[in-house]
Amino acid sequence: MSNVRRARTNWPHDAPPATDLIEAARDHLSAEAGSSDAGRARWMARVSANALTVALRELESKDTDARQHALRLGRLGVADDAELAEVVRSGGFDGRHRQLAHELWEVTLAKLRVANPGYRDEALEPHRDSVSKGNQT
């Protein structure tokens, strides 16, 4: 294992970054080679395969996601996530709530597309409901 301390952020996605995922998968597979317990080996193989799948989705979409995220931040008038977080926290978006919520919703979907597409598909249904209800009020 490397002793190099990696930055926590993996902008615009979340930790752990693809390199860590691939490293983890490799470590799991190495450990599996030394294990005689079939159930444990199967579980490790599955975790490893999932990690690699997420890593590959991230690598495929990272450049596009980064560009789109930069555009979103521009529309919201902030330089980066740190500034956006600070403004949200201090109530600076309370008057532009719908715009903020829309952009953060898109951020969430983009992250889910990489981290857990199943959640994303599921999330889209209640989202449509809440939008239509929101428009009626």
Binding site: D14, A85, A101
Partner: protein, 305 residues
């Protein structure tokens, strides 16, 4: 493997004084979680064979005394009628097992969520699962808070508590800042403090054909709002593909009604929802929090004021 030999020697050394002439057999590692290791083994003496489990902090984790607190909590919970594992021995610090450890009696049951949700032999256990969860939680929440004084973290302000955890990462996620604003303006009235398990969900429950055999993994146990355990049990992340709102198995209505029938307080569904949205940064990153974001955002963008 050399790790096994070291653990076997360590177990032999700590068990000797309590069990006498003892042999450690069938030693194997069950899992390596983020913060600790779980080992299964049998302690064979002249009187027979004892099936046991040893858990200890993972290598590199500083001795914190948490394991010892957990052993005390397990004893208290068991005395209070909770299906907690029976502690045989525990130790803190750099002894023969190198780090803090707890040894408990091994209980037969299934802990793998997908099997609990699908295996035909566990059908009747699934039918009673939600009501049993409600009973276990009501029993945990009825434990005497004063008897754990000083042992457990107190979470008096759940928003502030998780906000501090979030900010300690120094990794800004604006959606969480919005979630915290939503939580602050939609907060249900306080419900008093209880012993809270902190991680009561599929994966930490041992299920046998007769139902819940044991409530495991008490390392996040704290004193706080008992409704947080109910919300966590309903979190999207812990349904493992099951359709039910509660652990992929049952309904919130059944959970809340059974909880009240078992002596828990009355909780309404809106308050439960607030606790589902309450973020939990398990494992040091927000990755395990997708369900929170998902629920929070799906709650309706128009309701965030």
């Amino acid at each position: 493997m050399s790790a096994n030999i070291e653990v076997e020697r360590g177990l032999h050394k700590v068990l000797g004084p309590v069990m006498g002439d003892v042999e450690v057999t069938n030693l194997h590692q069950l899992s390596a979680g983020a913060s600790r290791e779980t080992w299964s083994f049998d302690a064979v003496t002249g009187q027979g064979s004892e099936p046991l489990i040893m858990q200890r902090a993972r290598a590199g984790a500083a001795p914190t005394g948490v394991r010892s607190a957990e052993a005390a909590i397990l004893r208290l919970a068991r005395d209070g009628g909770v299906a907690a594992p029976e502690v045989v021995l525990d130790g803190v610090g750099a002894g023969p097992l190198e780090r803090d450890f707890t040894i408990v009696r091994r209980i037969d049951g299934e802990s793998i969520p997908r099997r609990i949700l699908r295996e035909p032999r566990l059908e009747s256990a699934r039918n009673t699962f939600v009501a049993q969860c409600a009973r276990e939680l009501a029993a945990i929440h009825a434990l005497d808070v004063s008897s754990v004084d000083g042992l457990l973290t107190r979470v008096d302000d759940p928003i502030e508590y998780q906000r501090n955890v979030y900010e300690s990462f120094d990794d800004p996620h604006p959606v969480f800042d919005l979630v915290f604003r939503w939580l602050a303006s939609n907060r249900p009235p306080a419900a008093g403090s209880s012993v809270v398990h902190g991680d009561f969900r599929l994966g930490n429950l041992l299920v046998a054909e007769s139902g819940i055999a044991a409530v495991l993994d008490w390392e996040l146990c704290h004193v706080g709002d008992p409704r947080s355990d109910l919300g966590w049990l309903c979190a999207r992340a812990w349904r493992f593909g099951g359709a039910g709102e509660v652990a992929g198995i049952g309904s919130k209505t059944e959970l809340l009604e059974s909880y009240e029938a078992a002596g828990g307080r009355r909780v309404n569904v809106d308050d439960l929802r607030w606790w589902e949205v309450w973020p939990r940064f398990v494992g040091g990153t927000p990755v395990s929090c997708w369900s929170t974001i998902f629920v929070a955002v799906a709650l309706g963008r128009s309701r965030w004021r």
